[in-house]
């Protein structure tokens, strides 16, 4: 089971499902990270966390702990 956290910069994948609950999951959904959408890992911050991803042409940042709840196909 591969999560968004495991994606290396430059790699792309499709979101399969979301785990976890509460505000964080809701926020992830509201920002457009939903099953079926394609995400690309852009880079990690200089201190290793958070990460920057690209989806639907726009750029989002999220922490590794948050990326871990996004399961990829």
């Amino acid at each position: 089971m591969k999560s968004l956290k495991n994606l290396m910069p430059g790699e792309k994948a499709k979101v399969a499902r979301l785990v976890g609950n509460g505000a964080i999951k809701r926020r992830i959904i509201d920002m457009g990270i939903v099953p079926g959408v394609e995400v690309e890992m852009e880079r990690y911050a200089p201190l290793g966390d958070p990460a920057e991803i690209k989806l639907r042409g726009n750029h989002l940042s999220l922490r590794k702990e948050e990326a871990d709840g996004i399961i990829l196909e």
Binding site: R26, I28, D30
Partner: protein, 709 residues
């Protein structure tokens, strides 16, 4: 003919250009305040157009309308309770699908809606081609296109809003259709809610006449929200007569959906909305751009480069400081000179006496002390507004988040703490960018530990008096570092015990870089500066008068004889007596009552600590002491060494105490304002005194053991 009054509410995602359009619509006719009970900013403006007096409400920028963030709750409550005549939903055309997600939720609120497709220029540049007439039909909502940054399409937007108000829009409404399993549950819930809501509104109206005609929710929206288990709506329904029964049915519906679709009802609902959006976009939007790298991506390749990002970030903050304090310094001197001149003029034109003392020392001195920071604040806010508008602030948070998150803060906490080195007042106001109340409160509580500009003269005078020049820099640096370490430590402590709970997720947009318009940056700067002046100013005025009173009364001893010297007067004043009263507490730190008086005075503003000590030790050349003449330093140094009994060690402890204890009155006032209660400013006073005492106690007693004192 009298003008008809209507209300337009602007809704949209953050970074959709909403504020720019708001400014285009209303110009300078704006009013900024807070929504009652929360620190969410409420912005209103007016525009007169075609015989209409239009009130424009700028709703907080949100991605959604859930109950998870106060911004979103405020946005939807305004729509439900204030019933604007039309809601204008600003959309970033270059980022359409995500922006339309909010639109689907606004549609469910069943308000008259107009879509404003903004940033058409950027969309075009990115190869996104939108047939907006077709999209408008597919969504069932009227739409105009505009370019906010060039002020294009503003009139067309107003025209469309008026058409909507006049009921001249003829469109087939379209509803978001969910999967049939969901629609079945919605039908069940709606049927049940219809009777119950009417009944409950009537009951409430019977009890309270102001409730008559009060908000009823659109039934479908209510049903969807219950399926999503929206906390606020669940609470509301639970308070109804028969609410528990409804919630039991909701639970069953949610269970059935989970069983049939093997997914969270929340996710299923979101999926339905995105399905609706995707369907419309598939038909109306074509993408001709290739995978070419955008300008923003190019800039970020440098600014967020793993090796360069930190140095660049530090460089930019350094520049921000230079701008604020170097450019601000001469302006501050002018203002100071102005107030001194004003005080002098008043002094020359009034008779000797209490009233004169009150006006010159209390009011002009006190208010001048606030106004003097205005250039700094304007420049700092100008810089911050510029960095925010360009899109860099989000990157700064991205770079700093790991460090801040480790102590329980948020990447965005870094900005206010940085400003805190200048002045704590604007720093605390800058915490508004933090959405999570606990993140924000923790940041507010620790920001006073970042050593502000007003504390610097205390350090420099004490250091020059008690330390050799070659270690002066290191001593000063150590004080700043101790402040930072304590701030981090206390943040961790607060987040572990006092303010437990999840930190705001860092799921955040990194918006495209933009060159902001000067007008918008200036307006943003002024908005914040005005709040500082207006609110902090009034409380500071009152507090300065109080402090003045404490140092002025009583003016004569019990026999009615006036005191022979300023030092004697100060000793016998209420402030002096307070100093003596707290002496027993200060003895374990190596301080006497005179230090106590100086610390009481420092509550008004920290720079007063040294001048008060100066007066108490009867330093003759008082005037020079206030300035930064070498003579003054020398005379203070000599006097202090000879008379105070201070050693370098006790002087260092006094610096530590000054660093940590009570932020100034202005800070207390602004914490009160930003947290909307007296609880947190009083807590800040309490914990900083306790922390200062504990730290100084440990250092002094530890020093005694190793023979320093």
């Amino acid at each position: 003919m009298s003008k008809k009054t209507i209300t337009i509410a602007l809704a949209g995602n953050p970074n959709s250009g909403k504020t720019t359009i708001f400014n285009n619509l209303t110009g300078a006719r704006q009013h900024v305040g807070n929504y009652p009970g929360v620190t969410v900013e409420r912005k209103e403006g007016r525009v007169i157009y075609k015989g209409y007096d239009i009130k424009v409400i700028d709703l907080p920028g949100t991605y959604s309308l859930t109950a998870y963030s106060p911004d979103e709750v405020v946005a939807r409550n305004v729509i439900i309770e204030e019933k604007p005549d039309v809601v204008v939903n600003i959309l970033d055309a270059s980022n359409l699908e995500r922006n339309l997600y909010l639109t689907t939720q606004l549609k469910e609120l069943e308000v008259p809606l107009v879509l404003a497709l903004n940033m058409m220029d950027i969309a075009e540049k990115n190869g996104i081609n939108i047939q907006h007439n077709l999209l408008s039909q597919l969504l069932g909502v009227p739409m105009v296109t505009l370019i906010g940054t060039k002020n294009q399409g503003t009139m067309e937007l107003l025209d469309m809003a008026l058409e909507s108000v006049q009921g001249r829009i003829n469109m087939t409404p379209k509803t978001v259709k969910y999967r049939h399993e969901v629609e079945e549950e919605l039908a069940i819930l709606q049927g049940m809610l219809a009777d119950s809501q009417v009944l409950n509104v009537q009951v409430a109206a019977g009890n309270d006449s102001s409730y008559a005609g009060n908000p009823t929710y659109p039934l479908r929206w209510l049903a969807v929200k219950l399926l999503e288990y929206d906390q606020e709506i669940v609470r509301k329904v639970n308070s109804w007569a028969g609410g528990e029964k409804i919630l039991a049915v909701v639970d069953k519906s949610r269970d059935r959906i989970r069983e049939m679709l093997h997914d969270d009802p929340e996710l299923v609902v979101v999926d339905g909305r995105y399905g609706f959006i995707r369907g419309a976009c598939r038909e109306a939007v074509t993408f001709t751009g290739s995978d070419q790298i955008t300008v923003t991506e190019l800039i970020d390749k440098v600014l967020l480069n793993r090796a360069l990002a930190l140095p660049i970030f530090l460089g930019i903050t350094w520049l921000l400081f230079q701008l604020t304090f170097t450019l601000g310094a001469p302006l501050m001197e002018w203002i100071e000179a102005g107030f001194t001149a004003l005080g002098g003029w008043v002094a020359n034109h009034m008779d000797e006496g209490l009233l004169k003392s009150l006006i010159v020392d209390g009011i002009i001195g006190g208010v001048g002390g606030v106004i003097v920071f205005l250039p700094n604040i304007l420049l700092l806010f100008l810089g911050i507004a510029f960095l925010e508008a360009t899109g860099y602030m989000a990157r700064a948070a991205f770079v700093m988040d790991k460090l801040m998150h480790r102590v329980g803060l948020h990447g965005k906490s870094f900005v206010p703490m940085l400003i805190g080195f200048g002045c704590t007042v604007p720093a605390i106001m800058a915490t508004r960018t933090l959405e999570n109340p606990k993140d924000r409160l923790a940041t507010i509580l620790v920001t006073p530990l970042m050593s502000c500009g007003a504390r610097l003269p205390v350090y420099t005078l004490l250091i020059s008096a008690f330390f050799p020049a070659k270690v002066a820099g290191n001593v000063l640096f150590s004080i700043y570092i101790i402040g930072i370490i304590l701030a981090m430590l206390m943040a961790k402590v607060f987040r572990t015990w006092l303010l437990r709970g999840e930190s705001e997720p860092f799921v955040m947009e990194l918006p495209i870089y933009r060159l902001p318009s000067l007008k918008n940056v200036l307006m943003h700067m002024w908005e914040r500066a005005w709040l500082y002046l207006k609110k902090a100013g009034t409380i500071i005025l009152a507090a300065s008068i109080l402090i003045w009173g404490l140092f002025t009364f009583p003016t004569a001893d019990v026999n009615g004889n006036e005191y022979t010297s300023a030092a004697l007067q100060m000793e016998q004043s209420y402030a002096g007596r307070m100093g003596k009263a707290i002496e027993p507490v200060l003895t374990p730190l190596g301080f006497d009552w005179k230090t106590g008086v100086a610390l009481v005075a420092g509550f008004a503003a920290k720079e007063v600590v040294v001048s008060t000590l100066g007066t108490l030790y009867s330093i003759e050349d008082e005037e020079a002491l206030a300035g930064e003449e070498d003579v003054a330093v020398k005379s203070f140094a000599q006097r202090a060494r000879e008379q105070s009994g201070f050693t370098p060690f006790t002087a260092y402890i006094l610096m530590l105490f000054t660093l940590i204890y009570i932020p100034c009155i202005a800070t207390i006032a602004v914490i009160k304002r930003e947290t909307n209660s007296w609880k947190w400013p009083l807590f800040t006073v309490g914990y900083t005194i306790a922390l200062a005492w504990i730290v100084c106690f440990l250092v002094y007693q530890g020093g005694k053991i190793v023979g320093l004192a």
